[in-house]
Symmetry: C2
Subunit: 428 residues, 2 copies
């Protein structure tokens, strides 16, 4: 039963939330429906978003809001006998995990149906990266998406306008009213799209650190907990990792340049250890959720045998491109070098700035961007190459400024801070 | 220097406020200007209002917002040599103090320039009350208002549309977005209108209790403190009383019926002790601010000599009505009685409900409403008249339900809880 929420009822709901009350599921349903129908305007919705950020949303409220958002549009339905899985990152720099893990998990027998977004702020978007592969289509119809997952085991498509239209409108409003950083609202936004996307199990990679949307560890842990708990309310299995984002995850920053790194990684040409750790961990969790036996061994084998790379090629071909197009992708000719100006240890890398630079440098050439040579903690000598910038707009000085060097070696940081296992619906 | 605030700057301002920052005076000025100009829309303003309610506004911020609001419209200017005073109530039931005190203080030689509003919710509005006097005009032009204060010493006029247009728009938005009860926003709303109204000194009567907008004592004290402190920033002397609103202040509830009570009070026919205490206290503070010697004695004398009543008549005549019209005002013929159903003490009176009933009963006859016979703490016997309802729609049963009777005498409550004296600008 949807409660009809008109202007007066919305005012009372805002006041109740303001005064500390928890709103019922029918109220959240009525709010989303009323907003889409136009009986609730942006002004009232904006007050509700801010009061939700202030007071927080309970798990019940977040689940109710998520459900109302899912019901605002179409839903993708995979055949009931398939355990389709999906993987989501909260957004980072040089986060090539999706590009690696989707074909990797599919090569192990899982069905991976990934709906992805565009870049947000300084972070990369998997759809923007895939768009750099000549001829590749990410605007799959729902029918094409389902058929491709069934046929080759995986697909990565752009979020359809037909799924969760409420999220698009709400996100735009949140963006201009300072109401983005609410754990409850973020959870509802992420999860509504995942649930409408049809997968039965999810792995969430919640990035944490100066180059992530969650700067503080506690916030990231809270988001991870919420994602798993609210997914449980929808009878979806979910695990959430909290991972470090204090420097670029991989070695490349950009769009096409990250596709090249993912391609080379899967072909065994360049295996950055942090990318390997992240990819195997995420793949392992995905495979476990998909019910595949010996997840870790299976993933390592698919990687080393080249099966994962062949699955990437199959996906690229299924989405309208070719092996030759993928393998022909190359770095721009022009490059600049950022050099160490003193001896010492790399103390910090400004990944936010690198994300912004790479975005600018990849506008003229789709494989423009940054290749990071030195990681935090690496010992460097004056004159060593810290990173290379690629593309006609690449600027050595700007790139150099993203590094600080100190005489002391900084404490090492783990890549994976924690893993939140799935819960039963009762445990949520 | 007004800072231009566009959509992006407004988003940053909301985010800064959300994260605990204090916004500068130029930002507040830019926000109000941008809102009136249309570069800031209701959605962003609503988020700013909610975040201001959440985080609170500092005295500096409230003063800056007040100033920006004052500057959104015209200002009334009295001749510099006149110390014009004004009195404001935060809104109550049976609050006839303005009707009594304005002529009373003027009879003592003060110049009282009162701009007043309409009823809000269950509370009465002085303008609605004056409108019940046949022929009386409250829509005075600014020029008429100034001239009348100069000629007879007092005037009560409706808030002009030309003063503080920002307040009207902001209040409408606050009303529907749950952002009314913010001390800072309330202070800016009240004070901007008072300052634009031209008076140099103010007495604020902040009502506190179940029938006031401030239910809790601490909130009322905080509002009183803020009003005095922010007035000081504008070089205005101000005092604020916190007074009880757990039962109707006077003996009558309605519009014309309250004019009759005020008239009779000034004529010496009916002198409710609480009304007398409130009126003499407010008048005393007003006269002290106006620089009149021996305020208390002066006020008591003007009341007892009939000079205050003659000043009321002069004001009524100056605003287009007549002594005969005022003196001819009478209660409606039809009345009903609410009787005590048991022996005991009046334990509570639901003044909110009485305000709502009186509003309904005064729509057909302008002097319809309620005459309260028993006060909280009065001993009553079964069958005693607790109150009378007047007007064709008056309903004895509904009126009776506004009283509760208990066997124990409730603890007495003071009428005036506290007085916040004016501060110098530095002390604010």
């Amino acid at each position: 039963m949807t409660q009809q929420i008109d202007e007066a009822a919305m005012r009372r709901a805002i006041e109740a939330k303001r005064d500390g009350a928890e709103l019922g599921a029918d109220t959240w349903e009525g709010i989303v429906a009323g907003y889409l129908r136009g009986t609730i305007d942006d002004a009232q919705m904006s007050a509700m978003l801010m009061v939700s950020l202030w007071r927080g949303l309970s798990i019940d409220e977040t689940a109710a809001l998520t459900k109302a958002m899912v019901e605002s549009g179409e839903r993708i339905e995979f055949p009931a006998e398939q355990i389709v899985v999906d993987k989501h990152s909260s957004g980072g720099v040089s986060d090539i995990v999706s590009l690696v893990v989707v074909p990797l998990a599919a090569a192990c027998g899982a069905r991976v149906a990934k709906l992805s977004g565009r870049a947000l702020g300084h972070t990369g978007g998997t759809i923007d990266k895939l768009d750099a592969i000549p001829g590749l289509r990410t605007a799959l119809s729902i029918e094409e998406f389902i058929a491709q997952v069934e046929r080759i085991g995986c697909a990565i498509a752009a979020q359809s306008e037909r799924l969760v239209p409420a999220d698009k409108r709400l996100y735009r409003l949140r963006d201009r009213t300072g109401t983005v950083p609410s754990i409850g609202l973020i959870t509802a936004s992420i999860l509504s799209k995942k649930i409408a996307g049809g997968a039965r199990a999810f792995v969430f990679d919640v990035k944490c650190g100066p180059a992530a949307f969650m700067h503080r560890r506690e916030e990231a842990e809270e988001l991870a907990r919420e994602l798993v708990a609210v997914a449980g309310r929808f009878d979806r299995r979910a695990r959430a990792l909290v991972t470090d984002m204090s420097e670029p995850l991989g070695r490349s920053v950009g769009t096409g340049i990250e596709v090249i790194e993912a391609r080379n990684f899967l072909r065994g040409e360049l295996r950055d250890m942090r990318v390997r750790e992240a990819a195997l961990r995420v793949a392992g969790e995905l495979l476990a959720l998909a019910g595949i036996a010996h997840p870790s061994e299976s993933a390592a084998h698919a990687l080393d045998s080249g099966a994962a790379y062949e699955k990437l090629v199959a996906m690229v071909e299924a989405q309208g491109s070719t092996r030759a197009a993928l393998e022909g992708m190359a770095l721009p000719e022009r490059s600049v070098e950022a050099l160490a100006t003193l001896d010492g240890y790399v103390n910090s890398i400004d990944a936010v700035e690198q994300g912004n630079l790479a975005r600018a440098w990849s506008t003229s050439e789709s494989t423009g961007g940054i290749i990071v040579g030195a990681r935090i903690g690496d010992r460097v000598s004056r004159g060593d190459v810290l990173a290379r910038g690629f593309g006609s707009r690449a600027n050595a000085e700007a790139l150099q400024r993203t590094f600080t060097i100190a005489s002391e070696k900084p404490d090492p940081r783990p890549l994976v801070y924690s893993c939140h296992p799935e819960r039963s619906a009762e445990g949520a």
